[in-house]
């Protein structure tokens, strides 16, 4: 192995550019899917993704080497939403579990027929129907559900993203799945 003192950087742009690409491109699809499921619109997802990457590149100097790049990029996306796509970044932190519970009571079926807990009853449900149901969830539930079940975030990562305690994440995810179940249950029941 050569004793190369590699280093450095008269003008660092090319290196920085390559480092940025190498570190962030692997997460592009996850960011895109998050934006797509959050907005339900390809155009909006495209714009959010572009803005996220432009902002991330601008602030790349602030990203500490070794830090969780995925979480950092999602925070940049959140920041980009707050600044430029306000309608997709309603502050849902204020919504308490009581409100969620009330919402759930409004839409839940009177009685869950146990046969509808079987996986086979939902074979006909397709991506677009499920995506539409997710899209119709209240903002605070939707974000947690997408991050957990589509993007694959842990509760801790979601907690960092939304900036609420892990217990709240657990509660929101529980309710999000129940509300979503109600929607697909009603859909399946209607289909007979």
């Amino acid at each position: 192995m050569l004793p190369f003192l590699l280093a450095v950087i008269a003008s660092n742009n090319k290196e920085q550019n390559e480092d940025f690409k190498h570190s962030t491109i692997p997460y592009m699809d996850s960011l895109y899917n998050f934006a797509l499921k959050l907005t339900g619109k390809k155009n909006a997802a495209n714009k959010i993704l572009k803005l996220t990457y432009v902002n991330a590149f601008k602030f790349w100097n602030f990203h500490e080497p070794g830090a969780n790049c995925k979480a950092w990029l999602f925070n940049i996306l959140k920041y980009s939403l707050k600044i430029s796509f306000k309608k997709y970044s309603k502050d849902s932190d204020k919504t308490d579990s009581q409100q969620v519970e009330e919402y759930y009571k409004k839409i839940k079926p009177l009685e869950v027929n146990s046969k509808f807990l079987q996986r086979e009853n939902y074979n006909n449900i397709q991506d677009d129907q499920l995506s539409e149901a997710i899209l119709s969830l209240p903002e605070n539930l939707k974000t947690v559900l997408i991050l957990s079940d589509i993007i694959g975030f842990t509760y801790d990562e979601i907690s960092d993203y939304i900036d609420v305690p892990v217990g709240t994440i657990c509660s929101r995810l529980y309710h999000a799945r129940k509300v979503l179940f109600t929607k697909i249950y009603n859909y399946s029941a209607a289909k007979g």
Binding site: L6, N12, N13, D29, N33, S97, C170
Partner: protein, 281 residues
Amino acid sequence: MEKNTEIRKEFSAAFLDEEIKDENIFEKTKQKIVTDNKFAVDYKIQLLVRNLIKEKIIHQKTPAKVEKKILKLISGDSKTNGPTIPFFSNIFEKPAFSFATALVIVFAIALIIMNTANITETKNFSYEQTGENNMFVQAQNYFNLITQKKLDIQINTSESAEVLKFFQDKEIKYSIIIPEIPNQNISGAFISDENGEKFAHIVYSGKNNEMTYLYQIDESYLYSNQFITLTNDFINYLDDGNCSITVNNNQVTLFKKIGSNICAVISNGNPDTLEKTFCSQ
């Protein structure tokens, strides 16, 4: 009481997601799922919905156009924020002749590949390097000027950090590599100017009057084919990771691509040492 029951039901989600870290709560939740029918239904709902999402939701690939646009935006951003380097890809960004240029380059690359098929590693490229813009010729000239003491070393130091700072201050637009050469130390550095572009040169010296000179440029300068050149087959040879060594009159000239830099090294020192230092990279 109702509140407590509600909280415990929420644990069915955390249980499913393996997010309960407290063993006691984990066991109690597990027990509850087995013994409490309402709780069991809740758990089944959580499981069903999570599985449906995982199975049915199709993960979309970022549209190629969007990805391309983002990469272009990033490159564009770097241009506005600081000094640029002539990336090879920039050639394609000039709409006036991008298609024609692309065709020419593809054709040229095809020719290079065909022409280099029979080249062996022992080929001596030095005879083909001619002209004042040729990097090989330039390196020879600079080395001669240094040995004849006709060239001013702009900074005299043995500290690599100082050399790097010097290059930074002089606005070199590419990353600089400063290798350590056994039994020699850095003695100084200077920059050259070609058409307004600055290039880095480092000089090493040893105790027994050995002297090694390193001239390095970002490879992208060679593609622009204007003020610094090497023959195409030589560039191709280096691009394949090969090392070119020519020994002549007790003077060794070595070319090697390290990272994205093309390095020209000329020395009156031991060729083996130089080869071990640079070519095993």
